[in-house]
């Protein structure tokens, strides 16, 4: 079928596929371009020629020259990949949660994973642990917080499992928030308090290659079940009863989705610190572009989230001679945008 001759091209499955294929191709291409662009800007002047030469040296195994190789391979590229990883992970978790809870106002922190990770990191700083210990503590306490919320929700046999889950998340989350405040009061005001404040604002300034290598597999482990289950998750958005009628066991599926999304969020937040709004806003934009169906929403949200966080982090490291915390930037951009979405109404949802 030739496209131009069809009276209603969008209605046929073939054109729909090729249409969304074009969308995904352009999302991937723009992410790749952004990554290339981000590797060329920064405090250290690095031209395209330097970059090509450095990559050439790396490929041929030639000796590194001066600081260029260090800047590119040890600092800038790890940070770019970290931004991509964090953005994709949080946005994917947000998309999964919004579909799961059938609510567009849900973000990955709804079950307390970010607050829990925050508590873990603050505890690590309070105990003067080294950086790796702080990150491990953030990861573990983040997972444990959601585990606690989920156990409470399964113990409470309500008629509305989702509502119970969300309320338990709110309660445990605010308890963790109180614990953070307590530790802030008890901490050393000269060393620990500033470190706590900076951690809670989120930043990729200190990211290392090793941290990217440690985080990437965890994000993948969380992502694979979401990808494999994407059709069933889609069914969940119809509601538990309808899902059951279609042969999907809502309770068990919900457990897998929560586990996967939590693993992703906890592992990225452990290295980046708390970064708000990305998991809430990005799935909305993705939904506007590819529609609400989860099988397309998930990859679109990941690509958009990766691009978005990369742009924000690049701004954070180039705007001034010091670092601007990412959490501040994402809130400044995210909150007004979200309000605009609200004002626009529920168009595009369901």
């Amino acid at each position: 079928m030739v496209e131009g001759t069809s009276p209603i091209p969008a209605a046929t499955p073939e054109t729909l596929t090729s249409h969304s294929g074009a969308i995904f191709a352009s999302l991937v291409a723009s992410l790749a371009l952004l990554m290339l662009g981000a590797s060329l800007v920064g405090a250290y002047p690095l031209a395209l020629g330097d970059l090509v030469a450095a990559v050439g040296r790396r490929l041929t195994g030639a000796a590194p020259q001066g600081q260029v190789d260090t800047i590119l391979f040890e600092i800038r590229l790890p940070r770019i990949f970290a931004a991509v990883l964090v953005g994709a992970g949080i946005a994917a978790a947000g998309a999964a949660y919004q579909t799961l809870f059938r609510n567009p106002l849900v973000s990955p922190d709804i079950l307390g994973v970010s607050t829990g990770a925050g508590l873990g990191a603050v505890l690590g700083i309070f105990l003067s642990l080294p950086v790796a210990g702080i990150q491990l503590s953030a990861f573990i306490v983040g997972l444990a917080t959601v585990g606690l919320v989920y156990s409470i929700a399964t113990l409470v046999h309500g008629r509305e499992p989702i509502l119970v889950l969300v309320l338990a998340g709110v309660a445990v989350g605010s308890l963790a928030g109180a614990a953070i405040s307590l530790l802030k009061i008890l901490s050393d005001p000269y060393d620990q308090l500033p470190a706590i404040v900076f951690w809670l604002l989120g930043s990729l300034a200190a990211i290392r290659k090793g941290e990217v290598w440690a985080t990437a597999p965890l994000v993948l482990i969380g992502l694979v079940p979401l990808m494999l289950l994407r059709w069933r998750i889609n069914v969940l958005s119809l509601g538990d009863e309808e899902a059951k009628a279609l042969g999907v066991e809502a309770g068990r599926l919900r457990f897998f989705v929560i586990a996967a999304a939590t693993l992703m969020t906890a592992s990225v937040v452990a290295v980046s610190g708390v970064i708000g709004w990305v998991g809430l806003v990005i799935p909305h934009i993705a939904r506007m572009i590819v529609g609400p169906s989860f099988d397309r929403l998930l990859p679109a949200a990941m690509l958009l989230g990766a691009s978005y966080l990369l742009v924000v982090d690049t701004a954070a490291r180039t705007m001034a001679r010091i670092e601007v915390p990412i959490g501040i930037l994402t809130a400044i951009i995210g909150a007004p945008f979200f309000l605009w979405l609200l004002a626009r109404g529920r168009e595009g949802w369901s």
Partner: protein, 350 residues
């Protein structure tokens, strides 16, 4: 004879009943009793100034001294109770506890900006205890010693210590007069577990760098206080000297491949500041910086300041901190200032 005695007594009584009015650093007129027995220090900088001038008038410490700090604080005073902070980030003192210690005066040292002025007025109005604000900038140290010495009735001691600080300043200025700005060493103050926190030029946390004749590499127009920077910015700034008091960071920096390329690390000019009983270069920003200033001037200009650190330290601790250091304790401090810190046991936190 009896009448003479009676007259004298009457005169004394009249004098003691007469409150004096003094002007504090913020220009506030405060009525203080002529005899001040007990003073509540509102925060760590104030407690150090008070401890140095008149330890017998202290009601307690904002934080209890740790096991590591105790040997460097004179005998009866190291056991004073912890009463919390009244001002600054997260006040922890209870006004009733403050009143219970029956102070004749509340003392705060630090910024004399509007926020603190109104806070002082509020507390004074509420407790009916005179509240004195003293300017805590490093440059104002001699003035602070004279003002508080006068208020507390230890004017002679205040004058003696003020002269000591002025002599230190003058000796450094004399050397600096011959060193033009571009020849002064470029210094980075590394804070936090990853060393990527610092204070920008003009912040109270780093003013000791300029005072000792260095140039702080962290500059940001319109920014004050503590900030985060990235590894790339440090490589670009390429400081000649790195200062820190974080033992985790100090222990790691030499093995770290990213820091290895930075000039200070390459040339072995990373220095660890002792923190007992108080920090040598900050932590808190108070009179404790005077010994750090002498130490730093010697590090920045090793051929111009030949005063032996050991004797200087012994003298300073005797004159300011009321302790005659045993040889072993002095050894610990000197080794510490040369990079061999006592191992950081997991002491009970404050």
């Amino acid at each position: 004879m009896r009448t003479l005695l009676a007259v004298l007594l009457a005169l004394l009584a009249a004098a003691s009943a007469h409150a004096r009015t003094i002007a504090d650093s913020a220009g506030r007129k405060v009525e203080v009793p002529p005899q001040i027995e007990k003073v509540f220090a509102a925060g760590p900088p104030a407690s150090i100034l008070l401890y140095i001038l008149a330890p017998d008038k202290m009601t307690g410490w904002p934080n209890p001294p740790t096991a590591e700090e105790r040997p460097y604080i004179a005998e009866p005073y190291r056991d004073l109770p912890a009463l919390g902070r009244l001002t600054g980030r997260g006040g922890t003192a209870n006004l009733e506890v403050v009143l219970q210690s029956k102070p004749d005066l509340i003392l705060d040292v630090g910024s004399v900006r509007e926020t603190y002025v109104s806070f002082a007025d509020n507390v004074q109005g509420q407790t009916k205890i005179p509240y004195v604000l003293v300017d805590g900038r490093f440059e104002a140290t001699p003035a602070a010693l004279r003002l508080l010495g006068d208020i507390l009735g230890v004017g002679e001691r205040g004058e003696e210590l003020a002269k000591y600080v002025e002599r230190t300043f003058v000796a450094i200025d004399k050397v600096l007069a011959e060193v033009p700005m571009p020849e002064r060493p470029r210094v980075y103050l590394a804070r936090g577990p990853d060393g990527l926190e610092t204070g920008v030029v003009g912040s109270i946390n780093t003013e000791i760098i300029e005072r000792a004749g260095g140039r702080n590499v962290a500059e940001a127009a319109g920014q004050r206080g503590l900030v985060r920077v990235s590894m790339e910015q440090i490589i670009v700034a390429d400081p000649e000297i790195i200062l820190t008091w974080d033992r985790n960071f100090f222990g790691r920096v030499k093995q770290d491949p990213l820091w290895a390329g930075v000039r200070a690390v390459r040339e072995g000019r990373v220095y660890l500041a002792p923190t007992a009983p108080f920090g040598w270069i900050d932590r808190p920003p108070s009179l404790n910086r005077v010994i750090g200033l002498k130490w730093l001037a010697g590090l920045f200009y090793p051929d111009k300041f030949l005063e032996g650190l050991r004797e200087t330290t012994r003298q300073f601790y005797r004159l300011f901190y009321h302790v005659d250091l045993a040889e072993a304790e002095l050894d610990t401090l000197i080794a510490w200032s040369k990079g061999q810190a006592p191992s950081q046991q997991q002491l009970p936190r404050r």
